[in-house]
């Protein structure tokens, strides 16, 4: 048999290797080395962390390929990068650069208000955000090989990530308890492909790896998301907007592994310096929230 590249199994497989790990946002090669040294399983290469994107306003786009390449050269772990929702040419460019994963992300300004990228056509795998099971399975239907909660990026407030994780996992629990004749109406109601709804019901989980993202800032936040039932965590602004990034990064890695061990969580939470300055989501006007981008 010939070697087959770019299959769904190898795209989904890389996400399976990231499970139980922490993926960190980095804006320089130096950050990337700090993240790798702290035990990150992958880094997200970008020009500005979400907190800065939020602060500066304007249109947020794919990062400069030069920066992404420098970060790829700096570390041995996988490198991810973001494209705007629906911007398939930014995705073509990142695939040509050889990034390991593309995040089709609501953190950037959407390029298409109706359609996400047709992700099956790419050899490189995609991760997408979701707030509920219907949104998660629509993205998987388009070819996403990994899902994350949207949360509310750049706030340091974990409340939306909790809401989205509880929604996705709760939707799955409800689906499993339905009598078979109600499954078709359920998929209509949540707007998800029927075959993927059936598969999710059979597996009792999403058919791809499911991480938490958007507002995680402390080891306790990471362990909270893991105990709720996600497979791993993204930390965006929470590390490099804090007082002691290297120490906080290593602590979040340990908390993600030992998420059920409260004595280890207490130990790693000690003396981490200032966390990022948070921003309560309830204080942000609706038009400035980004989780509503994408459909």
């Amino acid at each position: 048999m010939e070697q087959q590249v770019g299959t769904f199994a190898v795209k989904k497989g890389l996400a399976q290797m990231l499970k139980g790990g922490v993926i960190m946002d980095v804006v320089t090669p130096e950050h990337a080395r700090i993240a790798e040294e702290a035990g990150a399983v992958a880094v997200m290469a970008l020009e500005r962390v979400p907190a800065d994107i939020r602060a500066s306003g304007g249109v947020a786009r794919m990062s400069d390929p030069e920066l992404i390449l420098k970060i790829m050269d700096a570390v041995s772990i996988p490198v991810m990068a973001k494209v705007r929702i629906g911007h398939f040419v930014e995705a073509q460019i990142l695939e040509a650069l050889g990034v390991d994963y593309i995040d089709e992300s609501e953190v950037l300004t959407p390029a298409d208000e109706q359609h996400h990228i047709a992700k099956h056509d790419f050899k490189v795998p995609f991760v997408c955000g979701a707030r509920n099971l219907g949104e998660a399975l629509r993205r998987v239907g388009e070819g996403a090989a990994m899902i994350r909660t949207k949360g509310e990026a750049g706030t340091g407030d974990v409340v939306e990530a909790v809401r989205h994780a509880r929604q996705v996992l709760g939707d799955i629990r409800r689906l499993q308890n339905l009598p078979e004749e109600e499954v078709m109406a359920f998929s209509k109601e949540i707007g998800a492909p029927y075959e993927l709804v059936l598969e999710t019901r059979r597996l009792g989980r999403l058919p791809v790896v499911n991480f938490a993202a958007g507002g995680i800032a402390t080891p306790a936040d990471a362990a909270l998301m893991m105990q709720l039932g996600v497979d791993g965590v993204f930390v965006g602004s929470g590390i490099f907007k804090s007082g002691d990034p290297a120490r906080r990064a290593a602590a979040i890695v340990k908390a993600t592994t030992h998420y059920k061990d409260a004595s280890i969580l207490a130990e790693v939470s000690r003396n981490l310096g200032e966390p990022m300055v948070g921003r309560q989501i309830s204080s942000i006007p609706d038009q400035d929230l980004i989780a509503g981008r994408g459909w």
Partner: protein, 194 residues
């Protein structure tokens, strides 16, 4: 038979499911005390740098080496790197298997692939020898083996993708992702032999 899976990071849950399918009792190993009472241990796929750093931080290096002195240990992908004596860069390694590995030897993720491999000695499936479907994810290659370590599986061009040294086993690919439990049964056979 009770087999542990090192659960610091990676696809340990996939290994646990395959072991249960093959009839083993299982345990997750995060701290040295979790090794007690196990007949064998699997080190899963994941990021070898992350797994190594966490193993050092939680004082697992020496307990793992002592465990491997008389019991079976199998590393898949990152686990294979962790078992090796030499990964050609500075990162924590158990240094148990006499082999040198090259990390990310096939390139980045867009070069990850699936293929069928001929594996001598696997249990038969429906009474027949059939190829093993293997998934390679940013996979390492076993560049060379020496001493008691022997190549077990090669690609058609001769490059080594699995090796065995007594009760230690290393594979560059991921039998835990395929649903085919023959490799796990092969390892359980190794773990039960004296």
């Amino acid at each position: 038979m009770r087999i542990g899976v090192l659960a610091l990071q990676g696809d340990f849950h996939e290994h646990l499911l395959m072991l249960r399918q093959a009839g083993a009792d299982t345990a997750e190993v995060r701290l040295p005390a979790d090794l007690d009472g196990l007949d064998g241990l699997i080190i899963p796929g994941g990021e070898s740098t992350t797994i190594g750093k966490l193993a050092v931080a939680y004082h697992l290096m020496e307990p793992l080496r002592r465990f491997a002195a008389d019991r079976a240990v199998w590393g898949t992908c990152a686990g294979a790197i962790f078992l090796s004596q030499d990964a050609r860069r500075d990162q924590p390694l158990l240094g148990l298997m006499q082999m040198r590995v090259i990390r990310n030897a096939f390139g980045r993720q867009v070069e990850s692939f699936e293929t069928d491999l001929t594996v001598p000695g696997l249990p038969l499936k429906d009474g027949k020898e059939i190829p093993f479907h293997a998934v390679f994810i940013r996979a390492p290659l076993i560049e060379t083996v020496w001493g008691d370590c022997q190549a077990l599986v090669t690609l058609p061009d001769g490059r080594i993708v699995a090796a065995r040294q007594g009760k230690l086993l290393a594979t560059s690919f991921h039998p835990e992702l395929t649903g085919d439990d023959r490799f796990h049964r092969y390892f359980m056979e190794m773990a039960s032999s004296k």
